[in-house]
Symmetry: C2
Amino acid sequence: MSRSGAYRSRILHITSTDPLKYEYLEDGVLLVEDGKVADLGAAEQFERAGFALGQCQHEPDYLLVPGFIDTHVHSPQLDVIASYGEQLLEWLNKYTFPAEARYADETYAATSAVAFLNSLLEAGTTTALVFATSHHKATDVLFEAAREKNMRLIAGKVLMDQNATTELHDTAVGGIQDSEALINKWHGNGRLGYAITPRFAGTSSVEQLTLAGELHQKYPDTWIQSHISENLDEVRWVKEVHPHISDYLDAYERYGLVNDRAVFAHCIHLTASERKRFADLGARAAFCPSSNMFIGSGLFDLAQMKEDRIDVSLASDVGGGTSLSMLRTLADAYKVCQLKGYSLGPMEALALVTLGGAESLHIDQFVGNFEKGKEADFLMLNPNATNVMSRRVGFSDSVEDEFFVMMTLGDERNIAATYVAGEKVSI
Amino acid sequence: MSRSGAYRSRILHITSTDPLKYEYLEDGVLLVEDGKVADLGAAEQFERAGFALGQCQHEPDYLLVPGFIDTHVHSPQLDVIASYGEQLLEWLNKYTFPAEARYADETYAATSAVAFLNSLLEAGTTTALVFATSHHKATDVLFEAAREKNMRLIAGKVLMDQNATTELHDTAVGGIQDSEALINKWHGNGRLGYAITPRFAGTSSVEQLTLAGELHQKYPDTWIQSHISENLDEVRWVKEVHPHISDYLDAYERYGLVNDRAVFAHCIHLTASERKRFADLGARAAFCPSSNMFIGSGLFDLAQMKEDRIDVSLASDVGGGTSLSMLRTLADAYKVCQLKGYSLGPMEALALVTLGGAESLHIDQFVGNFEKGKEADFLMLNPNATNVMSRRVGFSDSVEDEFFVMMTLGDERNIAATYVAGEKVSI
């Protein structure tokens, strides 16, 4: 059966995020049965137990790691990645909204959804938390495409009933009805999950935010995803749009949208009071380094967030972000952290995009590492993907250093193969 | 003859940097004879003049641009690219100096020089201003390798007689003698040039800096290259090492090392007084965005430098930098500029790495664009190098946007071919 297999390789995964621990098998075997991790151990042990190593696919040069998890990405925005010269609010109006409007066309939305998922898989991302557009149908076809690929994907239709381009507006009631229909169809359907998705407080009315909170209360194991405090103009503008709020977080908090199922992208300009409430409520922050630099939003302070005990995962935020590759995103994360005086360690980095991301999303019982019984989403990383990397890795004296080289220099080229639930993806 | 050829393609080059102007030929012909640009124009015009277009190598999907110019890079540091967790002074001691010490071995130095140049060419860089190590022989073999490849390269032996690891120290007099021998052997030899190369003020004695200034006076058409104001600890430390100086720039200025033949990497923390004298003396700044972020040095202020009328070019600064690709370096440059509130335009970006770089180095009579008679260093850029780029370029409505996509998402993958003096490089 194609969802089963035995893989002998160098194997690396995070076994605990707090305290940070990892396991590295220089010559390991990963046994996959029916899409799940059946066993993991040193090749030597397997052999001693009578296992015939010859039946393994043997990849001594590769590094097997769990599939990457991207906790904030916009599927339609692959069309506007690398759009020039704007900061957030202008960038939305000039590039993003016109591009998202194309997703009213169901056929276009369907082919684009497949292209988006293929690009994720090509980059080694097997799970993502995804903003679709405000179109019911475009969201539906994204789920359909993810089911076809058997991916563990969480997504949601964007709720946006004001202050965007009219053609993308839903209505407070209509947007919630669409969301509920999608929850009933897709949430818990196979590996799929639904996230209630108010774009951000600026583009949702009080009525829409209220109804979104109520919808989550009705379906408490759905997710919530939104944006917060990305850009100083945005922070000011949201307070103008909602003059009754005490601060930006309050625009979500008062409607029951801030809890441990909620993932907020950016969190760059949160005040100390906002950070405290954010932590107390257990909300999750998605660190989007390439996006935050590309549209000039600012530098996320990972050390501060850790000090405040806020849960952080990593996100590409394409199309504000400039790569779907979580390796390349980690390169930018490292740079942002260095500029803030903090050195992001390679194993902490690997945790961010595997087990840590899974924990942020409460899906660590399914994915994130190679614990027995988990779903076998994994990658074969090729450290020799380019001449420069190959030369540099030749000087490596540890797997930490080797992974650091890949996260600093690497991208899709390092992804020799992607497996989803035990099955090799062909793109 | 292999150094001649006719290329029909989309062709883009910068024709003037001030004011910024470019020429784009949607269907152009570049005619190369004996390694030089013999003619350039629209295919239609060539045909009308009786030229048989069928003899051209026809690449309608590629974009032909001049070879890239990297104005600050360390050849031995390819071995320490992507080294974890330090800022400048610790990074030098922990990673860089031990790596450079290996270049005492001439055989190792020779094979490494070839690998370095191949990696440059693979990334589309045809000209660079290069720091070798403090070894006479290692510098000699770098020039030898560049001559073999017929590259327009400027390089120099590092002068460093104090405060590094002892095995890398030269002496004030001995270092200058070695430099002069290398000048006599290589400066003006074919396409090669010599740069007098005090590493930075902290690792040179007053005697060495004095002699370096005198050497440049003796050979005024050599170049000078060094570092300045990269990191705040470095700035403080240089003032401790040289308590007689009024500020960091003064450590070079008083020895005759600041003029229009001098290229200083970084220039992040220059004071207003330093910037004014820097501009008045016509010195050149090399903007090293990936390095400045990777080792946490700070954010270069391009808009400020322009306002101060300081000449700026772009540099990878490998191994502090994280890529030899000037495309990927431009992605980081754009991000640094966005964080400083300035949007680096795609044609300004192209100028930085072609004609602008050539002008900074006073070699624009030889390279930098496709003016008739210039040396034919050029690249074939493939905008469809990845699925993500290809999809995004499908929405492009201009060559500016298309180049912006390549500089934001791209790297070595976009370099379909590199030509040096008319000859296709095989790596």
